[in-house]
Symmetry: C2
Subunit: 146 residues, 2 copies
């Protein structure tokens, strides 16, 4: 029997609204760049300086590896990403093209632009919110059970 503080439930409830707001903004961002959600999510997760294996991208997108083939096909067709050879010659390593990097940065800049609700908060609230969220991520280390 674990006791959950009332405040935690209330926060979780409130976060649903912010989730929906973020989702709407991400969909709009993808659409404005002529990308589907998954194409945008794939681009979003390709690292800037280095490559990423197809299977790693599948893990990140939480979908089967077979789907990544088609998604990456489209990114490649648009000149946003490229498939290269890995050391292990079974592995294909994805890298962003300059165009892909530019688009990824553009999307990122837009998603990091604070939405109206955030700008309406006092500078003090913004700072406090940032600090608490940072603490939440810091303490959220991988479990070291067993």
């Amino acid at each position: 029997m674990v006791r959950v503080p009332k405040e935690a439930n209330e926060v979780a409830e409130l976060l649903i609204e912010f989730y929906l707001d973020h989702k709407r903004r991400f969909h709009a961002t993808a659409k404005d760049h002529g990308l589907t959600i998954q194409q945008a999510a794939a681009l979003w997760n390709l690292p800037l300086g280095q490559g990423l294996a197809m299977s790693a991208l599948a893990d990140i997108l939480m979908c089967d590896a077979s789907n990544v083939t088609g998604i990456v096909d489209k990114l490649e067709a648009r000149g946003l990403a490229r498939r290269g050879q890995g050391e292990d010659r079974r592995v294909k390593v994805l890298t962003l093209t300059p165009e892909g990097e530019a688009l990824r940065l553009e999307m990122h800049a837009r998603m990091v632009a604070p939405p109206a609700w955030l700008l309406k908060l006092s500078r003090d609230d913004q700072r406090t919110l940032r600090d608490i969220l940072r603490r939440a991520l810091e303490t959220d280390e991988p479990d070291e059970k067993t």
Copy 2:
């Protein structure tokens, strides 16, 4: 030239992680109940005591009305929702069945269960976070420009 406080950008950046966490949990919740994301989202948005027009649901789901037909078909086939007649006889009013209400409440309870990162915060941080998020929603009134 609008000046955006650095803190606001930092918060927006941090929120991406929490968005992804929430998304993972919603997907898992839907899957565990044998629902697709859109079916779960539809169910989630049907009000408890009252009805909702198909077109209103389409607005909420941010998709074309034509898609709602198929999604609601599946909810109806599983006995979770029903189509009824509106006063305007062009309108079909969706209502939850008792089974639909139960499932909706179950999903809601699971999504309101605080994730690990939230429980790891101090009670004080939880309270502060709640208060700031509430302020953010309060001040987020519809624009009254023009």
